[in-house]
Amino acid sequence: MQLEYFHMIDRIVDLKVDEKTIVVEAQVPQESTIFEGHFPGYPLMPGVLLIESMAQASGWLQLGVFRFERMPILAAVKEAKVRGSVFPGDLMSIEASLTHEGSGYAMTEAKIRVGGKLRANSALTFTLIPFPNADMRGYMAKVAERVGFPQQAVSS
């Protein structure tokens, strides 16, 4: 996880395009300037970054299901609940499932667990846009390689 670049996801553990589910891992760093302010003496992952992590997990799922033909952009957060704290050094396991495929939009449900315990969940809505330019498309391809996106899952 590189918080300063909003790189929340470290590794795609399991992407099932047919079942429209994904599991990813995200290792919260021990140190970050974010924790210097949130909070001194009690560093804690901000809830909005937990939501962003679930959105990014959902994003990789959609890139897989829609075969990199559309870029998912977070549009709405519903029923987000932070059920427990996430601390520096925690390894988050994030699972997401696609609950609805609309025309130009999609909806997901996502959960964050640490050590098997549920820490957050949310229902998210995304708009699906064409990649706006080649730079962004190329950038996402590089990030896909970094997080171990299984290209074979979308190449058949």
Binding site: G102, S103, G104, Y105
Partner: protein, 95 residues
Amino acid sequence: MSSTFDQVATIIAETCDIPRDTITPDSHAIDDLGIDSLDFLDIAFAIDKQFGIKLPLEKWTQEVNDGKATTEQYFVLKNLCARIDELVAAKGASA
């Protein structure tokens, strides 16, 4: 069974917190009811689920942007309901 319009009007009223009695078949979802594109996604989702169809929002938006259709054709509620009925009929025919 309630009409397509009654079902759509109820969806809009509940999704966007708009008084049901202000929603008529001649209401324009955007111009008259003030529904924005994000709220319309929730309406489209509810319609997709309730009628078992997939509203082709991308296609409609493209047609409007290209000047091949007007927003009235798709977003005046009586016209929207006619499109829904067509999609339901097409689904039934292909089933």
